[in-house]
């Protein structure tokens, strides 16, 4: 541990090496966060099976400090969106995301979560979870193998390593807005579209008509 953390600009006096480390706040903060990411226990579809396989003995997620899968979003740091996101499910996914405490991360596992995948054209399918919640890492595959998921999680850790306490949004004084929960009407409604809905629709149609010309 101490080697990994030590800052070479401030060498530790001989005799104390191996017992103390001199390091920056960012480094120890990020190190402790990324070594204990708790994913939410939340499976959507086929990809969830590979996620469970990754947590099992052969691939052993515990090696990365991530084996503590929490069933409650309030105890989770990471949401692995493991499967097809449907219109019927997206309001619940957004609500779960809002319930997770900061800092929180989202990992889109598989083709479906990243962009709709094989079912993209379906009438009940959202083409990627990133239409509603911000995604940190995308993993391709259908389903991604456990190795690919692990690779994605390591990328996730690298991303955490690059963050700084001074800049992260969750230590600023202004509150972080919740994502408005989509509504189920005649079709899925994104509340962000509702103000001036009719005008937006008209503008879009005009734009498309102009393009078709």
């Amino acid at each position: 541990m101490s080697e990994e953390l030590s800052n070479n600009d401030n060498p530790v006096p001989e005799g104390l090496q191996g017992q103390i480390a001199i390091t920056s706040l960012d480094k120890i903060y990020n190190w402790s966060r990324r070594s204990s990411i708790w994913p939410m226990m939340f499976g959507l579809a086929c990809c969830a099976i590979e996620m469970i396989a990754t947590a099992a003995s052969r691939y052993d997620l515990a090696r990365f400090g991530m084996e503590v899968l929490r069933a409650s979003p309030r105890q989770a740091d990471l949401m692995i969106v493991s499967g097809t996101v449907t219109k019927k499910m997206i309001p619940i996914i957004v609500r779960l995301y809002n319930q997770m405490p900061e800092p929180k991360y989202v990992l889109a596992m598989g083709a479906c979560a990243s962009g709709g995948g094989p079912f993209k054209e379906g009438y009940n399918v959202v083409s990627g979870v990133d239409k509603f919640v911000p995604v940190d890492v995308y993993i391709p595959g259908c389903p991604p193998t456990p190795q690919a998921l692990l690779h994605g999680l390591i990328k996730m850790q690298e991303k955490i390593d690059g963050q700084s306490v001074l800049e992260v949004p969750w230590y600023r004084s202004e509150p972080i807005d919740e994502i408005p929960q989509p509504l189920l009407g005649p079709d899925l409604i994104d509340p962000r579209d509702i103000p001036d809905f009719a005008e937006k629709l008209k503008a879009q149609e005009e734009r498309l008509a102009a393009e078709r010309e």
């Binding site: 226990m41 939340f42 499976g43 959507l44 579809a45 086929c46 969830a48 099976i49 590979e50 469970i52 396989a53 099992a56 003995s57 052969r58 069933a71 979003p73 499967g83 097809t84 449907t86 219109k87 019927k88 499910m89 619940i92 779960l96 709709g116 094989p118 079912f119 993209k120 054209e121 379906g122 009438y123 009940n124 399918v125 959202v126 083409s127 239409k131 259908c142 389903p143 193998t145 509504l183 189920l184 009407g185 005649p186 079709d187 899925l188 409604i189 994104d190 579209d193 509702i194 809905f197 009719a198 937006k200 629709l201 879009q204 149609e205 498309l208 393009e211």
Partner: protein, 587 residues
């Protein structure tokens, strides 16, 4: 364990040949080219169905679905009924005008029709009069339109049939997102304004689950009923499944399953795909048993095309399907223990063995889970060298020992026994009536297994027993699965000994198969129960109708029945013992 016999059905001696004479004026044979079965007038349907069940012994309704014959302006409802002691299906249909399709509900005759009729209402807009709760089941209440109707188009609609013109080499490639308003997969009726619009919410769902209070009569406590939602995000629901339960104290008085959170429009997409394009989609139905899903679909299309795979392919098919059954049952047992509270450790043992079988799948098909290995009239490729040896080692050495180990640890375990015995009992009569299938049906004392009742492939050559138990509870479902793993091992042992050399594909492998017009119903005994594919072809490169009879979905019809009177914690165990896979429930 009660040693009850399976219920005897009376009057099963008469043959369907004489059926027409028994129903003069009610029944006409379906004479369309390639079609089978009978047409029944809608107003006579209930009478016909009741007599069919009571006098002719067709007590098991396997599948109900609708077909939209747009060019003829006709909506057809297709029923597949069986006798529980085996034999082929009796197919009957009823036709109603497409503009206002109204059909009498058969829930009163076969309660197993409940969810399937709701699905036909939801997706095709067929109204079933007399249905106790005709609400949408896969989409939400308030959704605009009935999506499986042929003239209903989704936002991302491009063309009626694949491959799309713009994907051809000379095509003008574009993204559909750029061609529709909002650029998202949404569309609204033209006069719709979201301001002032009130969502439907769950009132309709909660109606009938009223919060009645029990005032107590001095001898018992005064209690209130309470409605609790389990899921869709809940560690015990095996995916995105939701149960609304009413509780009196901790006792379940009513339960309503809510599904559709993983409805990915398999059938709509399937009717646009060419035949072979659907093969990888079937992998994603019951994603733990992709190989046997392939089997069912291949059988249905092979029936239509009237071809047979070569010997070697038949053997490989059986080996793969049985390995799949082992995988799926191991998973089910591991996760049943999870649901009982033994968190993850037993599942780890099960997953460990599963991984070894997945290695075999990966070797033969290139993918661990989504194998896409079967083709019409054969297989995608032969076994790579050495695979048979790996399978031998697994099946003769390792797996039998591991199954014994599970047996030793679990079967006599005191906690398993006290949590499972007598919990979630489904009587044999109810199991048949609710169209339960697979281990759920067999644990209720009905020795019905498609591999025996109507053998497909080469299952008639193997020596195996149909696992059956008579208690109908969670414990017996577990024991049936354990026994089935052993029987599957036996089948694979015989198959690897007998497998011949030779071709694995009849004729050349072709991508654009020619499928003559007609209908076919291919069914296999999947790990979860009877998986059926109902395919209607009109001679074009893509199926006109592609319906899946999903065992997990239909097994859920009996869930409320099993759960009433038990505690909340038992509901979790009961759901685990049915072993549902949401990919298949919602499709």
């Amino acid at each position: 364990m009660t040693d009850k016999e399976s219920p005897q059905v009376e009057g099963t001696t008469r043959e369907p040949d004489s059926l027409e004479q028994h129903f003069p004026g009610i029944l006409t044979p379906d004479e369309r080219e390639g079609f089978d079965g009978y047409l029944v007038a809608p107003d006579k349907l209930t009478e016909f169905a009741t007599r069919l069940r009571d006098e002719f012994g067709y007590d098991y309704l396997s599948s109900v679905t609708g077909v939209d014959y747009l060019p003829d302006e006709v909506m057809e409802v297709v029923y597949h009924a069986y006798r529980i002691e085996g034999g082929p299906a009796l197919v009957f249909k009823t036709q109603v005008p497409r503009a206002d399709p109204v059909v009498p509900s058969l829930v009163g005759v076969w309660p197993g029709a409940d969810f399937q009729e709701r699905e036909a209402w939801d997706l095709l807009g067929i109204r079933f009069t007399g249905h106790p709760n005709l609400r949408r089941i896969l989409m939400w209440e308030g959704f605009e339109g009935h999506p499986l109707r042929k003239d209903w188009h989704e936002a991302y609609f491009e063309e009626d049939a694949k491959p799309f013109a713009n994907r051809w080499p000379e095509g003008d490639v574009y993204r559909i997102e750029d061609k529709i308003p909002f650029g998202k997969n949404v569309q609204y009726p033209s006069e719709f304004t979201p301001e002032g619009w009130i969502p439907e919410g769950d009132e309709g769902l909660y109606a009938g689950l009223g919060q009645i209070s029990n005032d107590g009569d001095g001898s018992s406590l005064k209690t209130d009923q309470l409605v609790v939602n389990l899921g869709p995000q809940h560690p015990s629901t095996h995916g995105v499944f939701r149960m609304v339960v009413t509780l009196d104290g901790e006792t379940v008085t009513d339960l309503k399953p809510v599904m559709g959170y993983l409805h990915r429009n398999h059938e709509k997409i399937g009717e646009r795909n060419t035949y072979i394009m659907n093969m990888p989609y079937t992998d994603r139905l019951d994603y733990l048993s992709s190989m046997s899903n392939n089997f069912g679909y291949a059988l249905a299309v092979e029936k239509l095309m009237d071809i047979q795979p070569p010997e070697r392919a038949e053997y490989i098919r059986v080996i793969m399907a049985e390995l799949t059954r082992i995988v799926s049952h191991l998973w089910a047992i591991g996760f049943l223990l999870n649901d009982l509270g033994a968190f993850f450790t037993p599942a780890l043992y099960a997953i460990n063995e599963r991984e070894l079988i997945l290695d075999v799948f990966e070797a033969v098909s290139g993918s661990r889970m989504m194998c896409n290995y079967f083709r019409f009239g054969g297989l995608a490729r032969d076994l790579p060298p050495g695979t048979l040896q790996t399978i031998r080692e697994l099946i003769f050495e390792r797996l039998p020992r591991r199954v014994d180990e599970l047996d030793i640890y679990l079967t006599e375990n005191e906690i398993v026994r006290s949590r499972c015995i007598g919990v979630g009992v489904l009587s044999p009569e109810k199991a048949v009536a609710f169209s339960a299938a697979g281990p759920v049906l067999r644990a209720s004392g009905i020795p019905y297994d498609v591999r025996r009742a109507e053998p497909y492939g080469i299952y008639d050559r193997f020596d195996f027993e149909v696992a059956v138990r008579y208690g109908g509870d969670v414990y017996d479902r577990y024991l049936v699965r354990l026994q089935e793993i052993r029987e599957s091992i036996r089948i694979v042992q015989q198959a690897v000994d007998d497998i011949p050399e030779g071709e694995i594909q009849t004729g050349k492998p072709i991508f654009q198969v020619r499928v003559p017009a007609g209908e076919a119903y291919g069914r296999v005994e999947n790990p979860k129960g009877e998986l059926g594919f109902y395919v209607v072809s009109n001679g074009k490169p893509n199926p006109w109708r592609y319906h899946i009879r999903a065992p997990s979905f239909i097994n859920l019809t009996a869930l409320a029945e099993m759960c009433k009177g038990h505690k909340v914690a038992d509901v979790v165990a009961i759901l685990g013992s049915i072993d549902i896979i949401l990919g298949e429930v919602d499709r």
